[in-house]
């Protein structure tokens, strides 16, 4: 049982060490890969809140990832073309400031999660999976058919957005931003999972009847968890867009939802560091297998099948034991 916290610390510091090594060796591409890991892990931390703690199998988290991305794309594109977003009833201008973009991304994805959650959580089980998947597809097609922001082609942002006091164009400084945010999100997740809310949410996953019998409504718990989950994944979307300086409807696609889920499962559902390990392994596989074969998704699929069929509990489960800690 003591192994998991050690493993977590090793993973978190390992990511930092990899970046510092890359900096020393002057390998900016590795820094970018590590930044991708941090951002995708953040998206996974968001999903892990709904999926791991709440047991809500959402196959539509690309919605929040995409909304975060488009929040960045829309605000920054208006800023770079000096055209206001809205002129009436109030004048709203675009912005290139990361903190503002993050706030907008989190608010928008949180609201979307509230709306989608309020509808989807009326059901459960397979219905919930299908409905979240369908809502993801709805946003995908909407992004494609809405011509104002690039439609199918997406939006390019020429210069990365700014953060006061930092040079975000320097890979290591941008990594630092993402790394700190990931750390904060993990800290939040660990607090949340030990809080009264986390206890009740976990209990509702295991036995909704029991939770209702003590006077707690599972629907409200789940809705709040789903919304918080959307907020975190939305923030990851905004950072991802800034990393690539590009947003496109692909961020909304069902593959994106599937991949975010794969990060969580590969690492270990409900484990604090599950998404971090999962995202790191995913990027590593992509890098290594992608170098070996153009068709590396076949191998990814095979790895995933093996993990699901034979290694329940994910990679952390394999290393640190299957039981999730409880005290």
């Amino acid at each position: 049982m003591r192994r998991e916290p050690l493993l977590n610390a090793a993973v978190f510091l390992g990511l930092l060490a990899a970046v510092l090594w890359a900096k020393a060796m002057d390998e900016p591409f590795t820094i970018t890969l590590a930044t991708r890991v941090a951002i995708l892990a953040l998206a996974g931390v968001g999903l892990n809140l709904a999926l791991g703690l709440g047991g809500l199998v959402s196959l539509g988290h690309a919605v929040f990832f995409g909304i975060g991305g488009y929040a960045m794309g829309i605000l920054a594109s208006h800023a770079q073309s000096y055209s206001p977003l809205i002129e009436w009833p109030v004048l709203i201008e675009g912005t290139k400031s990361m903190p503002v973009i993050w706030l907008v991304a989190m608010a928008a994805s949180g609201l979307a999660a509230l709306g989608i959650g309020a509808l989807s959580l009326r059901t459960s089980g397979v219905y919930f999976i299908m409905i979240t998947l369908a809502f993801g597809q709805m946003f995908y097609y909407f992004a494609i058919s809405w011509p104002a922001y690039g439609g199918e082609d997406g939006l390019s942002i020429y210069v990365r957005n700014g953060f006061p006091g930092l040079n975000t164009l320097d890979p290591i400084q941008f990594f630092a931003i993402c790394y700190v945010i990931l750390g904060l999100a993990l800290w939040l997740f660990s607090r949340l999972s030990r809080s009264a809310f986390g206890l009740a949410l976990g209990a509702a996953r295991q036995n909704a009847e029991r939770v209702m019998a003590v006077g707690i409504a599972p629907y409200r718990l789940r809705l709040v968890a789903f919304a918080l989950s959307g907020v975190i994944t939305g923030l990851a979307g905004a950072l991802f867009a800034d990393l690539n300086r590009f947003v496109s409807p692909t961020m909304f696609s069902w593959q994106t939802s599937g991949e975010i889920m794969v990060f969580v499962i590969l690492g270990g559902v409900a484990r604090l560091f599950g998404p971090v390990v999962g995202a790191a392994v995913f990027i590593l596989l992509e890098h290594v297998l992608g170098g070996l074969s153009e068709f590396w998704h076949i191998y990814l699929g095979a790895v995933l099948l093996v993990v699901v069929l034979f290694a329940r509990g994910g990679i952390i489960g394999l290393i640190a034991g299957r039981e999730v800690r409880h005290d």
């Binding site: 029991r210 209702m212 019998a213 707690i216």
Partner: protein
């Protein structure tokens, strides 16, 4: 103090052609244990579900603590002060015994929407939880995972979780089920004392326990209450003997 705490007024429920509850009226007075007995298939589960709020009656009403709660769901009825134990243990299996007890304490105290503080360090909740576990004799097992508990311990935990809610009334569905002679012998005096904290509507198959504990007994047969009265009255009621007990005399 003469008005009943729980007042079930003529509820009926049918599923298609099957009448599960027919004009059932039942009261639970403060300080009493009111036992509900009946042969299998008499409609006890359906009745319990209507009282707890899982099912809505087709007609009639349910009053609790002076309020009409007929339209309220299980959550609202639990908040109103109805503490329920289930026939088949219904607990968060992956959590510890203490966590289950803390969960019960949470619901009552409306402390669910707290996101940062470690709930297992919340002294107020822990006090309630530990006290309840001690009362049912589970203090030693506080750190054990529920999945690793014995059947009897799970039954005890069911009661403990209900205690943490400090309910106004208990609704207990076969708390003795599967406890065995020793377990029943321990739970019986405990329930006996519990009635003074909050009255108990007790559905139970163990006749020894029922007749030892109950102030009043109601007999449900084919969805109808055919008799309500003191244990002595029920024992002597010819209709009960005929319909429910056959010729096996109650001793």
């Amino acid at each position: 103090m003469t008005s009943p705490l729980l007042d079930i007024r003529g509820i009926s429920k049918s599923f298609g052609a099957i009448t599960a509850s027919e004009d059932v009226s039942l009261t639970l007075m403060r300080g009493e244990i009111h036992a509900l007995i009946g042969p299998n298939g008499a409609g006890k589960s359906t009745l319990i579900k209507q009282i707890a709020g899982n099912l809505n009656p087709d007609s009639g009403s349910i009053w609790f603590d002076g309020r009409d709660v007929t339209a309220l769901d299980t959550v609202a009825r639990a908040r109103a002060g109805l503490g329920r134990t289930f026939q088949i243990s219904s607990l968060a299996m992956e959590m510890s015994v203490l966590q289950n007890a803390v969960l019960g304490a949470l619901g009552k105290r409306r402390r669910v929407m707290r996101f940062f503080r470690d709930v297992m360090r919340d002294a107020a909740l822990l006090d309630v939880a530990h006290a309840a576990l001690a009362e049912v004799g589970l203090a030693e097992a506080a750190g054990t995972r529920v999945a690793d508990l014995s059947h009897g311990q799970r039954r005890q935990l069911e009661v403990a979780v209900a205690l943490t809610q400090s309910p106004k009334a208990f609704l207990m569905d076969e708390p003795m089920a599967g406890l065995g002679g020793e377990g029943t012998a321990r739970l019986t005096p405990f329930l006996d004392g519990l009635r003074h904290r909050a009255p108990i509507l007790l559905v139970e198959h163990d006749m020894d326990a029922v007749f030892a504990l109950a102030d009043r007994i109601s007999v449900l047969v084919y969805g109808r209450i055919i008799a309500t009265g003191t244990p002595d009255m029920i024992r002597q009621n010819p209709e009960v003997r005929a319909a429910y007990l056959g010729d096996e005399a109650l001793t």
